[in-house]
């Protein structure tokens, strides 16, 4: 029996051999043979690999109809039909390079919430996942989760603010969108709330002087918001949350392809809060009412040789007001019911175009217009600002040198209704920069850079930079050293909100000179791989900035005024910060950071601490993920040490120092199938709010009850200290619960 089967097999194979043909041909792409291409007949075990020249041959193919598949890594698979009829048939394949785009880059385990890039400049990279630990409607609020970075509300009534880095005031922080300086001047005070968190792909933060690419204004540091790219965004996404206070935040994103080569991402953010809540009973709204829309559209185009071309535009409109509870728009600008009402309208456009030349040369450009129509009680501030920016950057690698050089030009137009700006202020700022990143050894890199700018109002500005990085062979130790200078021209009206609110007068005693400073910092990163697949990284930094001139507000000399003048001495800002990152593969991740700082100024050999700068801050985020069940829990928070606060003279009964205060949040997120996610977060768990007398004279914002002729503080009458909302260190918003959902759809 067995023999019979064997026999029939032999017979069959003879039969097949008799009725078979062969297949041969060439596999090529763009005229070149593709060695190693796998060629096979679908549904059979017949196949082979192409030889060195791309040729292949499959013999003994039984007669019949087949689908022939040619497949190789990096090229699109191609199929062809063929009929074999006892002959030798040539079948060639011409394969196209595959051009599949990645939809998303994710990181194994929990996250890449913070990482430091390879660069010798200490860049901290925060991913969008990091900000999901404590979702906030705007980039401004989101920054409270970052160690050493503090969003500071400058105004108790209208809740506008700026972002402090390492204790340095907001104007020292440069905020970039996709590397463009489009958030400057007016928008640092009024535009920050309008950048929705949903735009964030990642945020890169450099503390201390940044690279020569960004000029010398950013003494405190830069915050570079990298927006989502049309290629990597989901086809459709939504993120909507509402809070128990009545805030509603909606983010929608849609991606589409226009033609074969254009990708577009459209994003809409709408934020609304319309409740007059006064939990502290001072008669003034606790949280400013806001109605805000931001529309974003980014395009990217596929070009030959992977050249870059992206262009984006954004429009933002916001109507916000805070003040006495019975204020309505008809009281705007009047002196019967107090309200601070701000209309902001702003547009931005920015993009990068890589020139179609052999060398890598990028042209980046941005333009923006900002219109401010605001009124604080009966004081108007109407301002316009336009910024035009263009930069040509050439990247060149020569042996161990990585050169970046370029030309930049920035034009700023500014006008407002204040007497200080009789004529519109126009500044042209052409600049040139060179930077060389030198690989000294496999472990050490030196970055040297220099930049020269010509400011039409202040002349020559030269800013040198030096960075050094050393990494141990096992990648577990990294040291970075940075040095550079700072130069900044102060514009009080765009930077100092205090100039308009309250009854204090603004006094500028002399012509304000540009601020100049030197800065150095040291950074040490140590990574530990622990037992049980746990990971710990410690990131320790020391910063030192010495200002030869700094324009500081003086609240103390005259309680009725804020006095600005040049520093007759020097000021120093120094700090030490530690970031720790502990992760376990089981799903636990702890991020914690501490910053100790000392910000002081010395005039006539007397050293004083600067107001509104804390000596201690801490932030943390503890996350635990139950991957299989789709649950994630986050406990985030921050704690701030006491700050000196601006008082209204000796009679002011308020505490000259803020207490230690902390905002803590806890969140639960549940992942469902098909792209759904639900989350609930209790914000400000401890229900911390500043004292209810933070706004002095809240009952008399127009200072009408003043029984003397002097406006503001009457030194003879201890009860009359005027109206002053400048005593401000923490948001007035107490505990609340946010509920939200996320949905994303990927084809």
């Amino acid at each position: 029996m067995r023999n019979l089967i064997l026999l029939s097999f032999i017979f069959l194979s003879f039969l097949l051999r008799a009725q078979s043909g062969e297949l041969f041909g060439f596999i090529k792409s763009e005229g070149k043979g593709l060695a190693f291409t796998s060629v096979f007949l679908e549904g059979t075990s017949k196949g082979t690999f192409a030889g060195e020249d791309g040729s292949y041959k499959i013999s003994n193919v039984p007669n019949g109809e087949y689908v022939v598949v040619a497949q190789i890594l990096g090229f699109e698979t191609k199929k062809q039909k063929v009929v074999i009829d006892s002959k030798s048939i040539q079948l060639d394949f011409d394969l196209k390079k595959s051009n599949n785009q990645i939809e998303e880059v994710v990181v194994s385990g929990t996250l890449k919430p913070i990482s430091k890039s390879d660069s010798p400049v200490p860049v901290e990279v925060y991913s969008k996942e990091f900000f999901k630990k404590n979702p906030a409607p705007s980039v401004f609020e989101a920054m409270s989760n970052v160690n050493g970075v503090r969003p500071q509300l400058n105004c108790n009534v209208c809740n506008t603010g700026d972002i402090h880095i390492n204790g340095l005031e907001g104007p020292y922080t440069m905020i970039l969108i996709d590397g463009m300086p489009i958030v400057s001047g007016l928008s640092t005070v009024y535009g920050l709330m309008g950048i929705p968190q949903s735009l964030i792909e990642r945020v890169e933060i450099v503390k201390g002087p940044a690279s020569t690419l960004y000029g010398s204004e950013a003494v405190g540091g830069i915050i570079n918001v990298i927006t989502k790219s049309p290629q990597s965004a989901p086809v459709f996404s939504a993120d909507v949350f509402g809070s128990s206070w009545g805030e509603i935040n909606t983010d929608l994103g849609v991606k589409f392809k226009a033609g074969k080569k254009a990708h577009s991402l459209f994003g809409l953010n709408y934020f609304n809060f319309q409740n007059t809540i006064d939990n502290n009973g001072d008669g003034i709204t606790d949280l400013t009412l806001q109605d805000r829309i931001s529309v974003f559209n980014k395009w990217s185009f596929d070009r030959k040789d992977n050249r870059v071309f992206t262009i984006a535009g954004r429009y933002m409109y916001e109507d916000r007001w805070g003040g006495q509870l019975n204020w309505t728009p008809e009281f705007r600008g009047g002196d019967s019911i107090y309200g601070e009402s701000i209309y902001t309208s702003r547009w931005e456009t920015f993009g990068v175009y890589q020139l179609p030349v052999k060398e890598k040369v990028n042209f980046s450009f941005s333009a923006n217009g900002h219109n401010q129509n605001s009124v604080y009680g009966d004081t108007w501030y109407i301002g316009q600002q336009s910024v035009l920016f263009g930069q040509l950057t050439w990247f060149k690698k020569i042996a161990h040198h990585d050169l970046t050089s370029g030309l930049a030009y920035r034009y700023t137009y500014y006008d407002d209704n204040s007497p200080a700006t009789a004529n519109p202020d126009e500044v042209h700022l052409p600049g040139v920069f060179v930077q060389d990143q030198i690989k000294l050894s496999p472990q050490s890199t030196l970055l040297l850079g220099g930049r020269y700018d010509y400011n039409t109002n202040h002349g020559n500005v030269f800013s040198p930079r030096a960075n050094y990085k050393w990494m141990s062979k096992d990648k577990k130790n990294i040291i970075r050293l940075t040095g550079g200078n700072g130069f900044r021209v102060v514009n009080l009206f765009t930077e100092e909100h205090a100039a308009f609110t309250g009854t204090r007068a603004l006094i500028i005693q002399e012509e304000l000179k540009p601020e100049t400073s030197w800065n150095g910092n040291v950074n040490y990163v140590k990574k530990f791989l622990l037992k049980n697949n746990a990971f710990l990284s410690l990131d320790l930094s020391g910063f030192y900035t010495y200002f030869f001139n700094q324009i500081l507000p003086d609240y103390d000399s005259d309680p009725n005024a804020i006095i600005y003048d040049n520093l007759d001495g020097y000021s120093v800002s120094q700090c030490v910060s530690l970031n720790t990152d502990f992760s376990m593969r089981s799903g636990l991740n702890i991020l914690a950071g501490v910053t100790l700082m000392d910000v002081s100024f010395t005039e006539e050999e007397v050293t004083e601490r600067q107001v509104l700068s804390e000596r201690f801050t801490g932030t943390w985020g503890v996350s635990y993920q139950l991957k299989k069940k789709g649950w994630k829990f986050d406990y985030t928070g921050n704690v701030y040490g006491p700050m000196l606060l601006p008082l209204l003279g000796e009679d002011d009964p308020r505490n000259p120092k803020s207490p230690y205060w902390s905002i803590q949040n806890i969140q639960a997120t549940k992942n469902f199938k098909k792209g759904w996610e639900l989350y609930a977060v209790v914000k400000n768990l401890l229900n911390f709010t500043p004292p209810s007398n933070s706004i002095w004279g809240a009952h008399d914002p127009f200072d009408k009850l003043n029984n003397s002729d002097t406006p503001g503080i009457d030194l003879l009458d201890p009860d009359d200290l005027g109206f002053d909302p400048a005593y401000m260190f923490a948001p007035n918003q107490g505990v609340r619960v946010n509920f939200g959902f996320r949905y994303s759809f990927n084809k």
Binding site: A35, Q71, G74, I102, V105, K475
Partner: protein, 142 residues
Amino acid sequence: MKKLGFILLFLISLLTQAQEVNWVTFKELPLLTNQEAKPIMVFIHTDWCKYCLMQEQNTFSDSAVVSNLNEHYYCVKLNAETEETISFLNRDYNFNGNQNELSWVLGAENNQLSFPTTVVLSPQFQIANRWVGYLSKEATFN
């Protein structure tokens, strides 16, 4: 004589234990596979990814893993964020602004690239297996 052989063997085993993974480059691969056909293990990583570091330092330094890899595979490291052009299998792979194209050609799964990703190619450079995420030393590269 027998004793001496044992000692030699012992010494050799010591030497091999102290060995590291013998990393080769994409450029060398065609030549190497020509000499001896072996599958290829590609480790796709980035500089900042901590699980990549963990895999490098825990898994790729384990003596059993090292000897298995060195004996049965050609091993290549691919830094997904390298800006250098990599020539491999008839094609030049460039940096696309975020990653090198080769990292997604080899590593992308469902249009998604994760770090680390470990890929095994057949001696004929066909993708044989892919692991997304950290591989502990208990994992086998088959």
